[in-house]
C-alpha cells in the first residue's frame, strides 16, 4: 500500500516537474548566465577590489529572487489552476488521494527549484573560476538555506492556493514572503511603537514565516563560520513550517466539494 502511494506521489512529482519545464520556467537560467557573465566582466573594473564579494552577493541574491518568483507564481497555480480548469476532476477519479496529489505537486515544484538552484550554483562557481577567484565549498552554506526558504514559499503558496483563487493566492503569498523578510522589524517593533502589546508582537513574530532565517548570504560572503547546529535548527524550522502549511492545505483541499 505504501509502495502504491509512493509511486502515485512520484508520478505527480514527475509530471509537475515536466509541466514546469514545459512552461519554460528554466529559461530564467539564461538571464542568470547573462547576469553572471556581465558581472564577471564588468565588476572588476567598476568596483574597488570588491568584485568577488559582489559576484557572490549577486549570484546568491539571484538564486533567491528567481527561485522566489518561480515558487510563488508557479506554486499558486499548481492546485488552483487545476481546479479552475477542472483538470483535477479526472485525476481524482483515478486512485489518487487529494493528499497524494498535493504532496506530489509540492515535491515536483521543489525538484524544479532544486535543479534551478543547482544550475545557478554551478554558474556562480564557474564565474568565480573564470575570474580567478578561489572556489570555496562554504558558499553552499548560503545556498542550502536559500533552497529551504524556497520550499517554504512553495508550501505557503500551496496553502493559499487551496484557500482562494490563483490571483489572490499570488498576492497573499508575495505579501507573506515580504512580511517574513521584515521579521526583524516585527521583533523590534516595540522599540518604535512602545504601546504595542508584547504578546501581539511576539504572536506576529512567531506566526509569520521568518524568511530572514534562511538568509546567510552576508555571513558566507564575508567568510564567517556558520555552525552546523544553526543550519540544523533552520532545517527543523523549515520542516515544521512546511509540514504545518502543507497539512493545512491538505485539510482544506480534502474539505472542498470537488464533485
Amino acid at each position: 500500500m505504501v509502495d502504491g502511494r509512493l509511486s502515485r506521489v512520484l508520478a505527480v512529482t514527475a509530471n509537475t516537474f515536466r509541466e514546469t519545464v514545459r512552461e519554460r520556467v528554466l529559461y530564467n537560467l539564461v538571464f542568470f548566465a547573462i547576469l553572471m557573465t556581465l558581472s564577471g566582466l564588468l565588476l572588476g573594473q567598476l568596483s574597488i577590489r570588491q568584485d568577488e564579494k559582489i559576484i557572490k552577493h549577486l549570484g546568491l541574491a539571484s538564486m533567491e529572487v528567481f527561485g522566489s518568483l518561480i515558487a510563488v507564481f508557479i506554486g499558486v497555480g499548481l492546485v488552483s489552476k487545476e481546479i479552475e480548469r477542472r483538470s483535477l476532476y479526472p485525476l481524482l477519479a483515478k486512485p489518487l488521494g487529494r493528499g497524494e496529489f498535493l504532496v506530489g505537486k509540492f515535491l515536483g515544484l521543489g525538484f524544479t527549484l532544486l535543479v534551478n538552484v543547482a544550475a545557478m550554483t554551478l554558474g556562480l562557481y564557474a564565474t568565480l573560476f573564470a575570474t580567478g577567484r578561489p572556489l570555496r565549498l562554504q558558499l553552499l552554506q548560503a545556498v542550502y538555506p536559500i533552497f529551504l526558504g524556497l520550499l517554504l514559499v512553495v508550501a505557503v503558496a500551496l496553502l493559499f492556493s487551496t484557500l482562494t483563487s490563483s490571483t489572490l493566492a499570488a498576492v497573499f503569498t508575495v505579501a507573506t514572503v515580504v512580511a517574513g523578510r521584515f521579521s526583524d522589524v516585527v521583533r523590534n517593533m516595540r522599540e518604535v511603537a512602545v504601546a504595542a502589546p508584547e504578546w501581539l508582537v511576539k504572536g506576529i513574530y512567531y506566526a509569520l514565516p521568518n524568511f530572514l532565517n534562511f538568509d546567510l548570504k552576508d555571513e558566507v560572503v564575508y567568510g564567517d563560520p556558520v555552525p552546523a547546529r544553526r543550519l540544523l535548527w533552520i532545517t527543523v524550522y523549515a520542516a515544521f513550517y512546511v509540514v504545518v502549511a502543507l497539512g493545512g492545505a491538505m485539510a482544506r483541499l480534502r474539505s472542498r466539494d470537488l464533485t
Partner: protein
C-alpha cells in the same frame, strides 16, 4: 483529514516558535551584519540610472535614514561608517534636496553614540549644501549651529549667522543671535536661544523634535543647578547633606519630588546629597556640553 491527523497537525504548530527560538539563539551568536555599499559615489549611481537620478536620490536618502536609525538603535558596534557615503551619494544625485544636507549634517555631527560624532564631516556636508543652494539661509544657520555646538568656535558661528542674515528672506533675529554668540550671555542661554529659534522655525519632524529635546535638556540642567544649590543650603544650615529629596521637602526648600521635563524623577545621590538627570530619562547623557 482524519481526526488524529488534525490533532497531529495542531500538535506540530508549537514546533514553529520552538525551533524559531533556537534559530534566534544561533543567529545571535553570529557576527553582526556589515552593511555594504556596492556603488560608492553619486557619479557611479547616476551613470547606472540615467534619467532616474531623482528617484535614486530618494532611495539613497531613505537608505541613509534607515542606516542611521539602525546603527543608533540596534548596532552593537556603532560605527556609522556608511553614513557619509550615503549622504554624499544623495547630495550628488539631487543637489537641491535641502533636507538631506540638514539632517545628514546632524546625523554626522551628533555626539557618539547618538550620532556619528564626526562634526567635521557634518560641516563639509553643509558647506556642500551652501554651494549647491546658495539661497538657503537655513543651511548657513545650521552650519553656524554646528560651529557653535560641536566645534566650540563662537567666532565662526557668529560669522556664519551673519552670512545667513544677509540671504534674502532670512529672519531678523539671526543678527542678534550672532551678537549673543559673540558676547552676551553664557553658553546655556545662547544655546537656549538657538534651540528656541530652531523649534519655532522647524516644521513638524525630527529637527523640531531635536530642538524640543535640547530645550528640555537645558531646562533639566537648570533645575538640577537650582536643586543642588538648595541641597547645599540645606547642608549648610543643618550641618549634614540631605539623605533623600524628602529632607528638602520637609525643610520647605522643594515643593515635591523633583522631576525632569519628561516626567522622570531626578536621580538623588545619598552619598553626595546632590541631584542629576536620571539614567532612565531620555534626557540622560554621559556628558553634558557646557
Amino acid at each position: 483529514l482524519t481526526r488524529p491527523a488534525h490533532l497531529l497537525l495542531l500538535a506540530l504548530i508549537p514546533g514553529i516558535p520552538w525551533s524559531q527560538v533556537h534559530v534566534d539563539e544561533w543567529a545571535a551568536r553570529a557576527p553582526e551584519r556589515r552593511p555594504f555599499l556596492y556603488l560608492q559615489t553619486g557619479r557611479q549611481v547616476a551613470r547606472l540610472f540615467p534619467g532616474f537620478e531623482g528617484v535614486m536620490a530618494g532611495i539613497y536618502w531613505l537608505r541613509a535614514v534607515q542606516y542611521y536609525g539602525s546603527q543608533r538603535a540596534f548596532a552593537e558596534e556603532k560605527t556609522y561608517e556608511l553614513l557619509g557615503p550615503l549622504i554624499e551619494i544623495t547630495n550628488a544625485l539631487d543637489p537641491r534636496m535641502e533636507l538631506a544636507y540638514r539632517y545628514g549634517a546632524i546625523f554626522l555631527a551628533e555626539k557618539w553614540p547618538q550620532g556619528a560624532g564626526r562634526p567635521n564631516e557634518g560641516i563639509r556636508v553643509l558647506e556642500r549644501g551652501i554651494r549647491n543652494i546658495p539661497t538657503s539661509w537655513r543651511l548657513r544657520w545650521d552650519l553656524g549651529s554646528l560651529w557653535f555646538f560641536f566645534m566650540h568656535d563662537h567666532k565662526r558661528a557668529a560669522q556664519t549667522f551673519l552670512e545667513a542674515a544677509k540671504v534674502p528672506g532670512a529672519p531678523y533675529w539671526l543678527e542678534s543671535l550672532a551678537a549673543s554668540v559673540l558676547g552676551r550671555g553664557g553658553y546655556r542661554s545662547v544655546s537656549r536661544e538657538i534651540w528656541k529659534r530652531q523649534y519655532e522655525n522647524a516644521g513638524e519632524g525630527a529637527i523640531k523634535e531635536n530642538a524640543l529635546f535640547n530645550l528640555q535638556l537645558l531646562d533639566a540642567l537648570d533645575t538640577v543647578d537650582t536643586l543642588n544649590a538648595r541641597a547645599r543650603r540645606y547642608a549648610e544650615t543643618s550641618g549634614r547633606p540631605p539623605s533623600s529629596p524628602r529632607d528638602l521637602v520637609a525643610a520647605g526648600l522643594v515643593a515635591g519630588v523633583p522631576r525632569d521635563p519628561t516626567g522622570v524623577p531626578f536621580h538623588f545621590d545619598p552619598a553626595t546629597g546632590l541631584f542629576s538627570i536620571a539614567r532612565q530619562s531620555k534626557l540622560w547623557r554621559s556628558t553634558y556640553e557646557e
